[in-house]
Subunit: 215 residues, 3 copies
């Protein structure tokens, strides 16, 4: 049999072969040529493998895209989670030393100078002002301690405007504690601080706040 005949036979085999067909590799005693690998069957297997590899590539492309999308979403969530903002500070005075009074010409900002906590560094113990580092919903709580010789309590201000307050008249009770809490939605760089009532005086007091969540 010469090459031409061999090729011709191969081509006849080739014309009738279907995908996929892995032919069993026969041992030397097996003479059934239909079960032997041929140029055609090898070729057809290779053709099938190409399609399989193309499918795997598409699948990996989809997996990469899905993982990237997931990673981005996760990044956004952890970035939000990393918005940790909380402060707490008190005014520390000696016995019988009071802060105040505020006058009209000096609507003095109360400076809570002793800092317990200042995560995010948004509260300044130099100015008494909390500046929001990120748009979000914040809770603020304050406590004032005063005595009967002056109006006590204080006012929580947002961007210079009254929000909530407490108030205690001068009176026969020798001391009074007041406290209040408010939750405010704030933009970035909004300011929150405490001021006294006109003529008011307070002793040791506390001002605290934290970010509940970003919006």
């Amino acid at each position: 049999m010469d090459m031409k005949v061999f090729l011709l036979l191969s081509l006849i085999g080739l014309a009738s072969c279907d995908l996929p067909f892995l032919r069993t590799c026969m041992d030397a005693e097996d003479t059934n040529t239909k079960t032997l690998p041929t140029l055609c069957s090898n070729y057809k297997n290779i053709e099938y493998i190409y399609s399989e590899i193309a499918a795997l590539k598409n699948e990996n492309k989809a997996l990469r895209a899905s993982l990237a999308e997931q990673t981005n979403k996760f990044q956004n969530v952890t970035t939000l989670d990393n918005n940790k903002v909380a402060f707490s500070a008190s005014i520390t005075e000696g016995a019988d030393v009071f802060t105040g009074p505020r006058t009209d010409s000096s609507p003095s900002v109360l400076i809570f100078n002793h800092v317990f906590t200042n995560i995010g560094n948004a509260y300044s113990n130099q100015t008494g002002i909390f500046t929001t580092p990120v748009k979000g919903v914040y809770q603020f709580t304050f406590m004032t301690f005063g005595n009967n010789t002056n109006t006590s309590g204080a006012i929580l201000m947002k961007n210079g405007l009254h929000q909530v307050s407490t108030w205690e008249s001068q009176g026969p009770d020798y001391s009074d504690t007041t406290s209040n809490t408010v939750i405010l939605q704030l933009n970035q760089n909004d300011t929150v601080n405490m001021i006294l009532w006109q003529g008011g005086k307070i002793h040791t007091s506390v001002f605290s706040g934290f970010l509940l969540f970003t919006v």
Copy 2:
């Protein structure tokens, strides 16, 4: 050498070949038939490639499953994170205007009509009632401001039952601020609201709450 011999030789080679074996593609001068690709070596390579592709498919299947599981877990977490619930509202009264008193026949719910914040819209400034949108742990804080002519303070109710309260007697001090905080685990659709003491009256007051976390 005829085709029969050629095939026989191929099968002999095939019987002794190991996986994987990529034979070096020789140039024309090289006559060492052991290093040439043969039908058998090509076939064996193809057989090996099939097993590699099967392994890759299994691996991709595992990757898809793992990514899907991860995506679901993440979805649950972000759904929880999206449970943003916080409200804060005050009673705004003119000077010398007081809310109350409550009578036995009218255990009036205090309606904090001025809303600072109502993320999640769970507080109604029409009814004064906060209804939990989701099972979870919530913090509530309230402040009351009263004067000496009436009992002051208020009671925080959960589903109509007293939880915590503040109380100030009528007395010689001209005004009093009270404030209290409680953390409650609540089911969905539980209600939380404030009521007055019998005969009590309050002036400007504040009621706030937020979801700490779902459970």
Copy 3:
């Protein structure tokens, strides 16, 4: 043509073939041997497939690594999220029953025996002590209710040291509510609890706290 010539022709074809080349599988009538699969073209295709599979394996290895990294990060976040710590408890007394006074020899810890909430079980209603289960930033709020026959208010202690307090003198007002809030950064196993002022007495009071976030 004998086998030697056949092999020689194959090797000549082999020396000039480029990657990748998938030859079209021809039908029997086509005699153009350049478009037929040959041992060489099959071999070259197999060689190309090996490199494709190696690339897919590398890609899958990278996907597995990326997914594992993502899963670990997510695990850390959800572990943090699972740090749910919140407690709220009150002292429940009958009418005219007061807790206190503290004496120097007994700086009695206030035991808030009625537990509203104790997620994470960090507060003990046997000892009145909150022990931090995890390093983090915590908010604490307390309310005291006293009357005019004793000093009222209380002191919040961290590891046995005063942090913040409220104070009401004995006086002509028949009752007084005080309340205060502080946010503290605490290490694991730090303790937080309330004590009375010397000679102080309080009636129904509340103590609450929760983990804002871990640090």
